[in-house]
Amino acid sequence: MNELIRTLTQAWGPTSYEDGIRSVITRELDSLHLDYKVDALGNLIYCIVAPGKPKLLLSAHMDQIGIIVTHVDKDGFLRFGAVGGLDPYKVLGHRFVFANGTVGVAAVESKDHKTLEHLTLDKLFLDIGSASKDDAVLHVAVGDFAVYAGDCVQVGNRVTSAALDDRIGCYVLIEALKAAAAKELNYETYAMFSVQEEIGIKGAKVGAWGVQPDLAIALDVTAWGDTPESYVLDIGLGKGPAIKVKDAGMVATPAVRDLLIETAKNHGIPFQLEVLQGGTTDAAAIQTNASGVPTGVISIPDRYVHSASEMVDLGDVEGCIRLLVAVLLK
């Protein structure tokens, strides 16, 4: 099991509470001695200066989806709302963990089966094993956040865990920096580990303003189309990095898309082309900065996105790292 991937996925960091994952990343990159800053919203932005060269902004988001406690009832059950896109069917039955380690199980009001036919988040509640409100409030409070609980596990050449969206993107960016940072780069490179992507690509928007890049590439997960009766999408695990053509928030700038395709071909990296109908990434926010930024995305195919057990292929991950490094280096 790749320990860095595990550490990254297990760092507690729902949208807006990215301190923990930020520390993991700064610790991991400490030995590279790169300059970095943390901006007003908490984006972690590394800078590898190269005067005279075009500015490239790379972005992978640190935050993961989660829940926020809205109510503690008299029997100690918790009601909650979503932080990021949460499908109630993907929440039901799963465990969530709070910053202080408290664990809860998401269960459903079960008066009648109709509830399950049109399941909504407000019909669910969290059971943290308390017998009463008095006990529950010793462990949690209204306003507390929690994330999917569960270990990161290797299965064959694949890894399954919560939060691969987008800790696997962070991993790709970290590994690319390790491989390339000390060398001569094609760009003045800003590596941004962004915040608050899951509730509206917010960190990327302000981060891009602070950098004012000439070019940008985001690293995020994309969906899949290779499981039984799955949504029609021509992406599969094990077929290499996906180069984004279009998603619901943007059309990848053709020049950047083509740069990625050419680079992949020149380095013998198998790749796929991605058209995603639902969902977007930091790239959409960066692309509209100032007078516009040519932007593309290297996507890691990811099964069961926004569930407690997402799944990526380590070969695809390796391919993404190689592709990014090839873009950075001569």
């Binding site: 901006d39 009832d73 009601r79 407000d122 917010k202």
Partner: protein, 346 residues
């Protein structure tokens, strides 16, 4: 509550101003703040800025409230002199029948029509929601010609609701969302703080927090506090976990709403101030709704933003309710927070 505050709130809530028509409210605020701030500015979207102390050291602090209220506007005038309506902001269609309104710049009294019950079937009244598109305002005109110069397409239509006391320590009126915020920000602007304050009374919040977006671009602050009138659903048979906030439980602090997550550290500082001062407070207990803060937060390189609100029942409707103690406590909390900001590093 101070008589002057009550009077200001009465003036502000009875003033008329749907999105795009904020002039009357802006005029009241200018008059109120004349002599208390260094300068006023208005921009192309008609935000009103009231600015003081820009030469002072320390953080640039923005205090923000929006001037526009949810209402209606004239979409068409029929030959018979009836006015068709559109919604200016989000309002439940089911609130619109049989209500008294004021139309256009001359405050023409009118009523939203509701067919006599005898002319409808039981089936109709129990299953059909009449949408705004199908509702007209009757101002007593006999033809469209009579309305020349009095009412025109695009004119604002506001609810004719008087401000007053209600029940046990409540205030009733329209547009507490967000004239209550305007009143509180105006009062805070009357104090001289040791740092710069950008008072941004924004326009067009109700139709997409548009004023705040460009206003914060013009004057991006270090810290921003949006003061709102927010949802309290401690009413009827609403379940306790769906109340969002409760009247009487103090200022409502947003952690997450439908638009953004506030700055955790600033909010925790605010809570520390509340605790130290013995002031009540509550969290917004549902991640729903949205405020100017979501647009301010994303201006340029990002702003550390807070959203604090007076809880209000029945916002976005002809008549709503706040509790006097919540108004006072929200005002006091923000005042003490600013005082504490002056002495510590945020």
């Amino acid at each position: 509550m101070e008589q002057t505050s009550i009077e200001l709130l009465k003036k502000l809530t009875e003033a008329r101003g749907i999105s795009g028509h904020e002039d009357e409210v802006a005029a009241i605020l200018r008059t109120e703040l004349e002599g208390h701030v260094d300068r006023f500015e208005r921009d192309s979207i008609k935000n009103l800025f009231a600015i003081k102390g820009m030469d002072k050291p320390g953080p640039n602090v923005m205090l923000n409230a929006h001037m526009d209220e949810v209402g209606l506007y004239v979409t068409h005038i029929t030959k018979e002199g009836y006015l068709h309506i559109g919604k200016a902001g989000g309002i439940d269609d089911r609130l619109l029948l049989g209500k008294k309104v004021l139309v256009g710049k001359d405050r023409l009294p009118g009523v939203t029509a509701i067919k006599a019950v005898h002319l409808s079937t039981h089936e109709e009244t129990s299953t059909t929601v009449i949408k705004a598109d199908d509702i007209v305002v009757d101002v007593g005109a006999k033809s469209d010609k009579e309305l020349a110069g009095k009412a025109a397409v695009g004119d604002q239509i506001t609810f004719d609701t008087a401000f007053g006391t209600f029940g046990d320590g409540y205030l009733v009126g329209k547009a507490f969302d967000d004239r209550v915020g305007c009143a509180i920000v105006a009062e805070l602007l009357k104090t001289d703080w040791p740092f710069s304050i950008i008072g941004m009374f924004s326009a067009q919040e109700e139709v997409g927090t548009k004023g705040a977006m460009v206003g914060a671009w013009r004057y991006p602050p270090d810290i921003s506090i949006t003061v709102e009138g927010t949802i309290a659903a401690d009413i009827g048979e609403v379940k306790d976990y769906q109340e969002v906030s409760s009247l009487g439980a103090g200022p409502v602090l947003t952690i997450k709403d439908g638009g953004m997550i506030t700055d955790h550290r600033l909010r925790n500082q605010l809570i520390e101030v509340a605790k130290a001062s013995g002031l009540p407070w509550q969290f917004k207990r549902m991640p729903a709704g949205g405020t100017d803060a979501r647009s301010i937060q994303l201006a340029k390189a990002g702003v550390r933003a807070l959203a604090v609100a007076v809880p209000a029942r029945y916002i976005h409707s002809p008549v709503s309710l706040i509790k006097i103690s919540d108004y006072e406590n929200t005002s006091a909390l923000l005042s003490k927070f600013l005082a504490q900001l002056a002495t510590t590093e945020a």
